[in-house]
Point group: C2
Chain length 618, copies 2
């Protein structure tokens, strides 16, 4: 959802074949963005810059005209056959996209998580039953008649509402019914044979963005996806400000819960409308999110998370009924929340560890989810350590002079040669700098010596030979110190230059220093060194989008070959999805949360010392 | 509740010491009736006729003046010391009754059921906890903090409402709380130490009468009891007419459920008011009743019980939450319904078998609950057979020419010598004949030869020498055959004689024939003879009140020595009580229902044949 603006954008539908998935995106999004949102694997090694030509798809519908990159990279024959580059073609109305040439690709992350043993192991099973009719020789009670036909037998429980429904339904349907069984509970009885229709929805409730994945519980396949901004943001952009809202308003928890339930219901409706699924046939829900989002979703007052010692109300995995929460799916749908680890390491991280399979890895790996908070997990199947660091909102463009969220016009990629080159989101005139652009900018400025390892912007006359004069000329004195002009006033949308200031560099130093220090302390706790790391997994939208080389260059991550750094996409969302289709993996999630040793960094002298050291760039 | 009229009577409270029980009864009831209602054992071999003097108690409060029987049987010293006969003294306002002389007595039935192994084994336990306060070194979530102090540990589940309550409660109470745990569920958390206050209520929902037994779950003792007529009777006096009401009215089930929930809530309020118990500290409820009452209590449409093959919706034991049913106790109190066996053998019978311990008896016993339906269970710990017979309402005084319910003025005991002697309820002028009077009358008429074994009332001139002339003179010709005058017009309240007609005798023959045939067929199924029976247990109000000798004389029961016939009081209610205080016994109830082999009599040729034979008197 990187490119979704906070205004309510008009939505269009992208149907992917042969996956059979339908993704709803704002009008004007690229096919690649739609694919990314739906976790549909489309190869794109150049990062969507239209240079590698590998994201070729066949697309039909109202699309943007061929871009210069497409004209260059697609043959006449390909163009005639409807081929487009997914990163270039924007959708202006409902379109159909064929990925047949890409079908060799598989969602790497899901494969990792479920491995070759992946079996569909849903909690929900529908049984089509033709029951023997009652007679004087067979006076079994209605419930018994059903139990006797099911593998759960007499352990099968039924809620009162189901019991009340049974007698009339059995007789109206002439004893041919479908029993919906979730775990050991008779969730419902339906007339006739409805066994083919069985769905679940997995939610990733992010502080900024909420995504719903509609899954077919009979096949384990994703059939639709919908996403939206988290409307709680009207009460505060980040976790801390939402906690403050709760503390300051008596009905704060209730208001925030209403917001999130409201948007989840919109996402349910949207995903169902896309796919023709009846929301009453969604029998299971899974939810991941950080601990605060988790509590707010449940209507549990999260205020105790805010002050030290940062204590949550509940970390254990919970199972509720949809009607308790007001979710517009089957009223008795089981709603599973994945477990939290601590106040600032939530179910989203557990979901990520589940999805990436880190908990069963023989090799040591590092999992980093970067946002306002950086959550870090280090370990393997033997041990898992976790910590959270307050990185601040720099990576999301906040507190940066020209910072902005990753929406249209944000400078998102920067490279230097003799001068500065950049791209913007949607190719619009530059409006500001988003997190990945900031990272690139500082990395390039370090490379050419405009920024010293201390973070100081060097005076043009003191800069070494790696920077050209063109680059040096971009350093200008500002009111509060020197700044570097990335886009000149005449290029920009506002007529103001897009700059990076000394203060911006300092903000980035704080952010990267906090995360790096967290990583370092976990390594120390585990008694390992950087070289012992087999892989670094970057999760979350930002982790997915940043340029690894830049992250390494500024010292956000330990010094490793870029090949060891891997983006794993929306690992939390993947966790929600696989926990939905596999009871076994949901149990794993509980084990993961139990296993993770949470290391509290606040108040640790060694953290503060290391943090001070790690503010420097490598 | 025999003597409660259908008008709303003014209630007074009888406090029994040393039991500490409080019983609410209509003003004017005798102390014996109050004791009987509260299942407080008061010896009374003469059956409340004021002849044996054994029911002596010390009573204080506004009572009826000394009756002639009391003046005769109590010494001057006893009278001075406040002794009264429980069967004679009527309560006109709240009174205190001391049973110290009677304390050797114990509720025979409860002793039978729980035996010497009786252990308090309630589902609900309250734990007073002083929790360690959170710190940076102890960041456990609130729920975890509680779980870690409880034997249930991480298996402890908590509903959302409890989770929502926890954070504020812990902090307001400075982490000193009482956890209410029912089974593996955290029912509630309460501030401070409330462990001493833990209650449950057991309900016996009869078609006519509803009784609630308030129990202290810490001691297993009954602390209060309340009873009322079942207000569903406005929609039909018996099960069949209530089923008809449901069939004929779309909202019939709902209406009947509202009635029963309404009266249960009144009984809860009454029992709590008597005893000062807070209804919010009632954490558990058990319910017995016949299958139709069971379904109506749950709001489950019972119509399928009515026509052949008499199939109920649910027979299995159920566990619900009070709030699902609208019971005004703790909203998350667990409500257990005991299992049913079949459409006409319900949870009340299962409760009776549990309470009498028949399921663990080494000897063969017969359990008979007589009402409009006669439910019969035969067996021992090896096997249990059950059947239901439609006895008709004769035993309740319906379809009998001078029949009436067992209320004030009903002729309830009859004996013949040279003439007829009778007693009436409350010693009022005779208004009619209740079930036990009818039984006595026919038994005596058989003895003296006024009625032949065929049931025919003999012409006076053909009667043998056992009947005196005074008795013979009571036979008069009526419009539809001969009738026998029990109370002359001048003795009666209405100025009309109280008679028994030929048709009345036929009604009784049908009723006793049905029950006896049921017994006979169960004996046949089990391959036993009358002489193999160690005991006959008579349950229910009527079973408790009839004269065994008369029941044996008319052939309602197999020909056995009267010493083998035993009244077991409200065995169903006892079942509800012991299932409340013992999870183990609640499991036994489930096993009993599984074990009972239900024999369907309808449509059986051998039943009809035997029934025809058994209409005759022995």
């Amino acid at each position: 959802m990187k490119r979704k603006d906070s205004q309510v954008a008009q939505k269009v539908k992208v149907d992917f074949t042969p996956q059979g998935e339908s993704v709803s995106v704002p009008k004007g999004a690229t096919i690649l963005e739609a694919a990314s949102l739906g976790d549909i694997p489309v190869e794109g090694p150049c990062g969507g810059r239209g240079t590698c030509g590998k994201c070729m798809v066949i697309a039909q519908g109202k699309l943007s005209p061929l871009s210069p990159a497409e004209k260059e990279l697609l043959s006449a024959e390909e163009r005639e056959n409807g081929y487009r580059l997914a990163c270039q073609a924007k959708v202006f109305d409902d379109v159909v996209v064929e990925l047949s040439d890409q079908e060799g690709l598989k969602s790497q992350i899901l494969t990792q998580a479920t491995g070759s043993n992946a079996v569909l192991d849903t909690d929900v099973t529908k049984y089509h039953l033709v029951l023997p009719q009652p007679a004087l020789e067979d006076q079994r009670a209605d419930l018994q008649r059903i139990r006797d036909q099911l593998p759960q037998g007499d352990t099968l429980k039924a809620e009162l509402e189901v019991l009340r429904k049974i007698p009339a339904l059995l007789r109206e349907s002439e004893f041919e019914i479908t029993a919906v069984v979730a775990g050991a509970e008779l969730t419902d009885v339906e007339a006739g044979n409805t066994a083919a229709d069985s769905y679940g929805i997995g939610f990733d409730i992010g502080t900024t963005t909420v995504v719903g994945y509609l899954m077919d519980l009979n096949t384990g396949e994703q059939v639709g996806v919908s996403a939206a901004l988290n409307p709680q943001s009207v009460y505060g952009a980040d976790v801390i400000s939402r906690l403050s809202f709760v503390i300051e308003h008596q009905d704060g928890t209730k208001k925030l819960q209403e917001k999130v339930i409201g948007i989840l219901n919109e996402l349910i409706e949207e995903a169902c409308n896309q796919t023709g699924v009846d929301p009453q046939q969604i029998y299971q829900v899974t939810v991941v999110g950080n601990t605060c989002m988790h509590h707010l979703f449940l209507g549990i007052d999260p205020r105790s998370i805010a002050p030290s010692p940062f204590v949550p109300v509940a970390t254990a995995p919970l199972c509720l009924k949809a009607q308790e929460l007001g979710l517009d799916v089957h009223s008795r749908a089981l709603v599973y929340t994945l477990p939290n680890v601590a106040g600032y390491v939530g179910a989203d991280i557990v979901g990520g560890i589940l999805a990436t399979g880190l908990y069963q890895s023989s090799e040591l790996k590092l999992f980093v989810d970067i946002g306002t908070n950086g959550e870090i997990v280090l370990g393997n199947r033997e041990r898992l350590l976790a910590c959270a660091t307050a990185a601040g909102p720099a990576f999301e463009g906040a507190r940066i002079s020209c910072g902005m969220r990753a929406t249209s016009g944000a400078v998102d990629r920067i490279s230097f040669d003799s001068d500065v080159h950049y791209t913007t989101i949607e190719g619009a005139r530059p409006r500001g700098l988003c997190g990945s652009g900031l990272l690139d900018a500082v990395a390039e400025l370090l490379k050419v010596g405009v920024i010293e390892p201390s973070g100081r912007i060097v005076e043009p006359e003191a800069i070494g030979p790696l920077a050209t004069d063109q680059i040096k000329r971009r350093i200008v004195a500002g009111e509060s110190g020197p700044r570097f002009i990335l886009a000149q006033a005449e290029e920009s949308a506002s007529g103001q230059p897009v700059c990076i200031t000394q203060r911006d560099v300092r903000e980035l130093q704080l952010a990267k220093g906090a995360i790096f220090t967290g990583i370092q302390l976990l390594e120390k706790e585990l008694g390992i060194e950087d070289k012992d790391l087999a892989e670094v997994l970057l999760a979350g939208a930002f982790g997915n989008y940043l340029r690894k080389e830049s992250a390494l260059r500024i010292g956000l991550l330990p010094p490793l070959p870029p090949g060891k750094v891997k983006s794993v996409g929306n690992a939390a969302g993947e966790g929600a999805k696989i926990a939905l289709i596999s009871a076994r993996l949901r149990e794993r999630a509980a084990e993961i949360a139990q296993k993770i040793e949470y290391i509290e960094l606040s108040g640790r002298g060694d953290f503060m010392q290391a943090f001070a050291d790690n503010m420097f760039f490598p």
